[in-house]
């Protein structure tokens, strides 16, 4: 299980503020303990109501949101927060592909299954804070198995990288199998994820992910069917 360190932008800078929304105190305590070990992260507020938590921590850069609060799926709340530009990392035990894809469609920056461990959690939050994608294995499975006819078109390499990452949960092993570098594996996986920013309704968070991916040179606008005029004008495309 290897989580790619993406903390280069935050080390030395202000720690990333995180809000945790979950209706189980034991989960909040557990996640808080995980994140406490990471100097680049600071938990600002926790609770079981997203509105209350975000009122307490309006500056939180990343929201870890349990998708099921008090017995109700809060996809609508997720969409509302994402539309408002909140970077929401969904954190859920509901790991059926439909739910994961629906969360991405609603604008979640990332989807983390509750059984995926600390490394994935920290890496996901750090990536989210920088508008960068992070695809844990469970989400890779949902993407590669997406049966919807209007799913984004992935290249063979992107599909293969997602599949092998889902199977092995080791990017080093995927790299050996595909005879490419780990960095390239991550690029394929992330590129597949970025293509999903075009699925579902538009959200500020999706636009931010896409813009950052273009800025990083991960994708070109024409790769995912965006004309130059639609890309944000003030960001140079590589």
């Amino acid at each position: 299980m290897d989580a790619d360190p993406v903390a280069e932008d935050v080390t030395g800078a202000q720690p990333v503020g995180v809000a945790i929304v979950d209706d189980h105190p034991v989960v909040i305590d557990g996640v808080r303990a995980w994140l406490a070990g990471e100097p680049g992260l600071r938990v600002l507020a926790t609770g079981d109501d997203p509105d209350v938590v975000l009122r307490a921590a309006p500056d939180a850069e990343v929201v870890l949101l349990d998708l099921r609060l008090h017995g109700r799926m809060v996809l609508d709340k997720l969409a509302e927060l994402s539309a408002a530009g909140r970077r929401v990392v969904v954190y859920s035990e509901h790991t059926d592909p439909e739910t994961m894809l629906a969360a991405l469609d609603a604008g979640a920056v990332a989807f983390l299954a509750k059984h995926e461990g600390r490394e994935h959690c920290v890496a996901t939050v750090l990536a989210a804070a920088n508008d960068r994608p992070y695809v844990p294995p469970a989400l890779a499975g949902a993407l590669v198995g997406d049966p919807r006819p209007d799913r984004p078109a992935l290249s063979d390499k992107e599909r293969e990288a997602l599949l092998l990452w889902f199977q092995s949960m080791s990017k080093a092993s995927v790299a050996r199998r595909m005879r490419i570098s780990e960095h390239t594996v991550k690029q394929y996986v992330d590129r597949a994820r970025i293509k999903y920013t075009r699925a579902g309704r538009p959200a500020a968070t999706k636009a931010a992910l896409l813009a950052r991916a273009i800025e990083d040179g991960l994708v070109r606008p024409e790769d995912i069917g965006i004309y130059r005029s639609q890309a944000s004008a003030d960001r140079p495309t590589p």
Partner: protein, 400 residues
């Protein structure tokens, strides 16, 4: 399928256990085939009736009348030849119908019309309205036989042509007195209505039977799925009872202070119980798929031997030949026997591709599967490798 309480092993890590699958195995094709078989069976009775009526009429009524009026016919050999040709057509079409096929409707209908016109001409004026002019009453039944299962409109058209030929004969033989014309109308009505009724009735009954059989087959599919779902539910409940028992034991021991959370054996027990519970809760397999069933059985076995195992299935595998299924399932199942620590078994299935993968930590022991099978396995590719970190067995089927 049930798991019993686990034994402590040496594992130190676990992997998530999730099962996902949508049921989608109702087979409308099979139901349609069954419906077809039933409608064919009910149609067979009607075919026999039609063929028997046509030939019996031809033999029992047409032939005696023809022979009886032989000397009074204008051209007896021509009328007799027409009778023979019609008998041959009826015999051939009958054999075809009773064999389950359909006769070549257009060609036979055209031949019958030629016979129709010829016999009307050869019967002569005096025998026009007698039974010796056997085409009047008998030919319509042959129309029925050669046009079996064709649209009703074809039969009506053929009967229309038959009526037109008869009218032409009536006019040409100068039998245009009001009494003759009304006789003509009576004959046309009398000889057409019964065949039309039989034809339409048979078609309606066949359609009805097909509908009913279709409904029955669909109901059977639903019932079978319900049974399977019920069985899966009972299995799951039985496993849940066993697994929660194991979990309760561990929790109780921890709560009572009898078990030390720092003890690796205790941790392994907790881990195993959690992995089982998670797998069970996430399992949503309402319709059994043979490939997943085999893999799940292998996973259950490994779990019973104390190996924490995750089984994640995405998508529904298509119908696969037994040989393909065996090549997909055998290598990972064999590898599972040599697994230590933990195992992650995944299935990603689509209509054209199924990939099964088993990943376990690498160890010094020998490979349970032997060397990789390579690419020579037909449509199933088998890869096995170990890189010091993991052992990875992958089988992949692609539709060719």
């Amino acid at each position: 399928m049930s798991t019993e309480s686990g034994t402590a092993g040496t594992g130190t890590a676990t992997r998530p256990a999730v099962r996902q699958r949508r049921p989608e195995r109702a087979d409308p094709g099979a139901a349609a085939t069954a419906a077809h078989a039933v409608s064919d069976a009910s149609d067979r009775g009607a075919r026999i009736v039609a063929v028997v009526i046509a030939l019996a009429w031809h033999l029992a009524i047409g032939l005696p009348a023809l022979l009886g009026a032989w000397s009074r016919l204008a051209a007896p050999p021509v009328v007799a030849a027409g009778w023979l040709v019609t008998a041959a057509i009826g015999g051939a079409a009958g054999v075809r119908l009773l064999g389950g096929g359909l006769p070549p409707a257009r060609r036979l209908a055209a031949a019958l019309l030629v016979v129709d016109g010829t016999v009307f001409a050869a019967a002569g004026e005096r025998q026009l309205f007698t039974t010796a002019n056997w085409v009047w009453g008998g030919l319509a039944w042959f129309f029925l036989v050669v046009l079996w299962r064709r649209p009703l409109g074809w039969l009506l058209a053929l009967l229309g042509a038959h009526a037109a030929i008869a009218l032409a004969a009536v006019v040409l033989h100068d039998a245009t007195a009001p009494a003759d014309l009304s006789r003509y109308a009576m004959y046309v009505y009398g000889t057409s209505s019964l065949p039309v009724a039989v034809f339409a009735g048979a078609a309606a009954i066949a359609a009805l039977a097909r509908d009913r059989a279709g409904t029955a087959a669909a109901a059977l599919v639903v019932a079978a799925e319900r049974d399977a779902a019920e069985r899966a539910r009972r299995d799951r409940q039985a496993r849940l009872a066993l697994v929660s028992g194991t979990a309760k034991e561990v929790l109780a021991a921890l709560a009572a202070g009898d078990a030390d959370p720092a003890d690796p054996a205790v941790r392994h027990r907790a881990l195993l119980a959690a992995a089982r519970l998670r797998r069970l809760i996430a399992e949503s397999d309402d319709v059994p798929d043979p490939l997943l069933h085999e893999l799940r059985a292998a996973a259950d076995l490994a779990e019973r031997n104390g190996l924490p195992i995750a089984l994640v299935a995405l998508g529904a595998p298509p119908e696969l030949p037994v040989e393909v299924r065996r090549r997909l399932a055998d290598p990972p199942t064999a590898a599972l026997a040599g697994a230590r620590g933990w195992a992650r078994l995944t299935v990603v299935a689509g209509p054209d591709e199924v990939v099964v993968s088993l990943v376990t930590p690498d160890h010094d022991g020998p490979d349970a599967t032997g060397p990789p099978g390579g690419h020579g396995d037909g449509p199933v590719e088998h890869l096995h490798e170990r890189d010091g970190e993991i052992r990875w067995t992958q089988t992949r089927w692609r539709r060719t």
